[in-house]
């Protein structure tokens, strides 16, 4: 395992709130094992806006106290086995959400605002179980018109994977703008990339538009095929067979441990 991944993982301390991206946006699977070896637990994961393999593996490794998410699943490979077991056993706390509520919370943080209001949610059991959300009547309306207030989500650290970065610390995220939203909202952002280029991504307007400036990025490390077994847009496809192997193995705690041990040399 490259030392810089391990060094990046050591930024994560017990009890931190960590933002992780949806499976198709650029998941830094390369960081999963360093995070597990780093061992900082009691983590509060924020899935932007849903979670998958990485979330399931961190839960399986016993590092997670709370999951704030709109869903956790392995997509075509079915349910997330360690997440489902942890829910059943009551070993993790849940903040079930809906996708736009997570986006709204990050957007509030991005603006330095205490909250954002969103439509929907009224009458759902999601709202009933969220004591951190509030309902007010639209103050600009003629009376009535309830809206839900979502407090700012301010993660300590955001972690994701992207195709490229430059040696000035800028990261190209293309049209996956949720990666920028995560970085804007978080105190610290750790990024793994397929490759680091010499040219400045901001000096060409074509790449500048899809670039997250270094201002928001704390650390970058090279990790070729760092999203595997997830795919990375424009680079490589998802290895669905591998995710299915995981789904099948991780149905038991022993199977999960066996899978993780067997992949020790493969991952990162």
């Amino acid at each position: 395992m490259p030392g810089d991944l391990r060094a990046m993982a050591s930024c994560v301390r017990p009890g931190m709130r960590i933002a992780l991206p949806v499976d198709y946006a650029g998941v830094s699977m390369a960081m999963t094992r360093p995070l597990i070896e780093n061992g900082a637990g009691d983590l509060h994961l924020v899935c932007v806006p849903t979670g998958g393999l990485q979330v399931d593996q961190l839960i399986g490794a016993g590092l997670v106290a709370m999951v704030e998410t709109s869903a956790v699943s392995l997509g075509e490979a079915g349910g997330a086995p360690r997440f489902n077991q942890a829910v059943k056993d009551g070993t993790i706390r849940l903040r079930d959400a809906t996708c736009p509520a997570i986006h709204a919370g990050l957007m509030a943080a991005q603006k330095g605002s205490p909250f954002l209001s969103i439509r929907g949610l009224i009458g759902s059991d999601l709202l009933r179980h969220r004591d951190d959300w509030r309902v007010i009547d639209n103050p600009f309306g003629a009376g009535g018109d309830p809206v839900v207030l979502i407090p700012a989500i301010t993660p300590d650290i955001a972690i994701f994977h992207a195709p490229l970065a430059d040696r000035f610390g800028n990261v190209w995220i293309g049209r996956r703008r949720e990666l920028a939203a995560m970085a804007y909202a978080s105190a610290l952002t750790l990024v793994t990339v397929e490759r680091i280029v010499r040219r400045n991504l901001l000096s060409d307007e074509t790449t500048a538009a899809g670039t997250l400036p270094a201002l928001y990025v704390a650390e970058i490390a090279e990790a070729p095929r760092g999203a595997w077994p997830y795919g990375l847009w424009g680079e490589y496809a998802t290895d669905t067979a591998e995710i299915m192997r995981y789904a099948s193995a991780a149905r038991s705690a022993e199977g999960f441990a066996g899978y993780m041990a067997a992949r020790a040399g493969v991952q990162a």
């Binding site: 806006p49 709109s70 997509g75 829910v87 706390r93 809906t98 018109d145």
Partner: protein, 253 residues
């Protein structure tokens, strides 16, 4: 001779019929049938109008450039006309449960979660509930957990909501005022007694309900040609399975 329509082709054609007049439809990541129905609608409409189709997680069928929030922003503004929702449980008032059964938060059976349902159900005018499994454990009298409610009290901003429920057995339309489902048609091979036994909630129906229409020859040719080819990019496993079914149904020469 054209091979008779397969059950899945009747469902896909029904989805395309439900999308008539729609200009922008979005489909969730793991939804090959809704995607196929939308692709068929797009092909049928193309001489008159351009149907925009967004498939979450797809590259070829995704024109969004503002990340995964853009779909919801679109819907919030009324720029999305139709969407599909499934559910581990669906009840007679069109409440959907995507979270789990047997208590919350410590559920005995946990499903992935609510995704965007608690928002899109409110904001998208034509939400089509699509769930192939039609059994009493899915079609329940009352859901264990409301991910998104079927209706809202007066005064709640709600331009959107359920329009229809399509399953492997039947097509229902939803009446928001009553509220409740009315049987529109039974799929070929399904009887009313069978449907009543498989459904945990009460619904209105005729004594002799019509049969869900099957696609005609030209539509079938479009489905098995262009739509199947288009679908292959995003749903290769589903497309291969469909081709296998077609080959198996081919009468021996």
């Amino acid at each position: 001779m054209i091979l008779a329509p397969l059950p899945r082709e009747v469902l896909i054609w029904t989805i395309a019929r439900l999308l008539e007049g729609v200009r922008h439809v979005a489909v969730g990541a793991a939804s090959p049938m809704p995607a196929a129905g939308s692709m068929l609608r797009r092909a049928l409409d193309e001489s008159r109008t351009e149907l925009r189709l967004s498939i979450l997680g797809s590259v070829a069928n995704n024109f969004f450039t503002n990340g995964s929030t853009e779909l919801f922003d679109c819907a919030g503004q009324g720029r999305l006309d139709a969407f599909f929702l499934g559910g581990g449980q669906i009840d007679g008032e069109a409440n959907v449960n995507l979270v789990g059964v047997g208590g919350y938060p410590q559920s005995r059976v946990r499903w992935p979660g609510s995704f965007g349902s608690a928002y899109l159900y409110f904001t998208v005018p034509r939400v089509i509930l699509f769930r192939e499994e039609h059994t009493p454990r899915v079609m329940v009298e009352k859901v264990d957990f409301i991910s998104a409610p079927g209706t809202s009290p007066a005064g709640v901003h709600r331009p959107g909501g359920p329009a229809a429920l399509l399953t492997s057995k039947a097509l229902f339309r939803f009446d928001r005022d009553r509220p409740g489902f009315t049987l529109e048609s039974l799929h070929p091979g399904c009887g009313l007694a069978d449907l009543l036994a498989a459904t945990g909630f009460a619904f209105q129906h005729d004594d002799d309900p019509p049969v869900t229409p099957a696609p005609d020859g030209a539509t079938l040719a479009l489905l098995r040609g262009r739509v199947l080819d288009e679908l292959e990019e995003t749903y290769p496993a589903f497309a291969a399975d469909w081709r296998r079914d077609l080959a198996a149904a081919q009468p021996a020469a």
